[in-house]
Symmetry: C2
Subunit: 330 residues, 2 copies
Amino acid sequence: MSGLLRTPPQTDLPAEFVFIKQHFAKLAGPAALDLSDDAAVYTPPPGKDLVIAADAMVENVHFLPTDPPETVGRKLLRCNLSDLAAMGAKPEGWLLTLARPKTLPDTWFAQFCNGLEQDQKIFSLSLMGGDTTSTKGPLVLSLTILGSVIPGQAIKRRGAREGDGLWVTGMIGDGALGLQALLGKLTDASGHLADRYRLPQPRVGLPLSGIASAAMDISDGLIQDAGHLARENGLGVVLHASQIPLSSAAKACGDKWFETCLTGGDDYEILFSVPPEHEATLLQNPVMATVAGPVPVTRIGHFCKQQLGVTVLGRDGAEMTFAHHGWSHL
Amino acid sequence: MSGLLRTPPQTDLPAEFVFIKQHFAKLAGPAALDLSDDAAVYTPPPGKDLVIAADAMVENVHFLPTDPPETVGRKLLRCNLSDLAAMGAKPEGWLLTLARPKTLPDTWFAQFCNGLEQDQKIFSLSLMGGDTTSTKGPLVLSLTILGSVIPGQAIKRRGAREGDGLWVTGMIGDGALGLQALLGKLTDASGHLADRYRLPQPRVGLPLSGIASAAMDISDGLIQDAGHLARENGLGVVLHASQIPLSSAAKACGDKWFETCLTGGDDYEILFSVPPEHEATLLQNPVMATVAGPVPVTRIGHFCKQQLGVTVLGRDGAEMTFAHHGWSHL
């Protein structure tokens, strides 16, 4: 009579549950309760503060439909890891919601989750929960990340003072150039630039505490984000174009791509201010540790009071101007 | 020379920042750091576990473009609050990401946030952070909620035993009927059903600890969700149709809408199992407290071992069959 309602447990699973078990179960940590409950139950590390960030990515806005599925998930996770890194927090766990177009096959998600599995190992965190729904629009992914930090040691955007140096990790512009390469607008023989666009290197573990007075990650372009950091501190900032670190692949693109490097976004490097008393040590040995290995750090300018906004000085000492500051999300 | 880069701080704000400050700043709690940082910094209540859930809502899937913006935000928040309520957790804070179509005006978000402001007061929590981006598709909202619970007291889906009663808060089916009313498929003279579709009543504060052996909230239809609860416990469940609580507005729709009530979803009531030794007290006084006031609770069936899946018995004692179990998200 009621066969419809009394199928055995294993075959009774709605498509959503099968989808979650099939792809996401392997990512779930102890807090996730097998991804079968209404919520995760998580015991925070005793005596720590939590650092929590959320970021969304939309197909054709933040990634390309032709991007390998392995890197799409990793890119989103890494953008969020970069937010934790900017505050000096240790990754703990993450939640994911996805609005899925029916046209996207299961095989896409299998690869998407394989990529995330690799990054969970590299950055020592696990999936806590999430939600899956359908959409008639593009794929939308939203990720919330939790990290922990010793109370009082989170590095915030506010804290820089006049005279502090402005420092940056890694190289600037590779991600923005990588997007242009993938769009066919420039040649990227080694594939290094496209790799950096698809797979940013979050600076998790960067020991900012006791060195940096303020920090943020660069996601929307160096100039725009340096402007945010200055504004949050009621200061201006002066950048020296010749000191901005570029990879050899970026240099090979030529001077006409310099503006793209400084304003294109997708760097996920850490921008931080360092009080003068801590700069000597860094200048002597401009390398810092991260969980993924050492990263070079470079002094690219300083904070000032006289002039608000961002001033970029060229090799000749003259101010440079740019058509755009950076990426706007609206 | 570099006017483009040196505008004063207040006019220098990118559109995304203006949007966030204008609408969301009033919702931000202390952890949000004025919504100007990379992440929130949150000190969890000492000695508590955190309960964390994430849910996404998509225009035309979970809400209608004609729904009042005030209720769209509140509905999403309340769906997440319902997840906390099912586990017996106290709300602490939430994060929101939104993928915004350019066609949606600022006035829509002003109303959206006004609704959320009301609910923050009712349910005692505040915004911690989030992200705003654009999309060429429908509006996608993703909300992560954090709650706290005494360690060991979170009520999970697993824990029900053979012979436990199945109980439910409030009334079943009003939300599902409300959607049909808004689609013009039935008459809802009082507007009660549409109200319940647009604004679920999460049972935050329901004192499940020490009473319930397992619990979940009903979002995808009573029958489907009762099936999930039974399956998670390796059991079957028998429901008595005549005991399922219906509002007078639902009863007025007539018997032909009964299946919609049981399978349509959007209830956001709590489904919980109660061991026999705790049932007498509840049967004597079938009302439980929530932060929004007392709510009736009703025994609608029991868990069994003989028969897996869900069995619904009609008034005549015969098994009932239904075309669908409930809502599937994929």
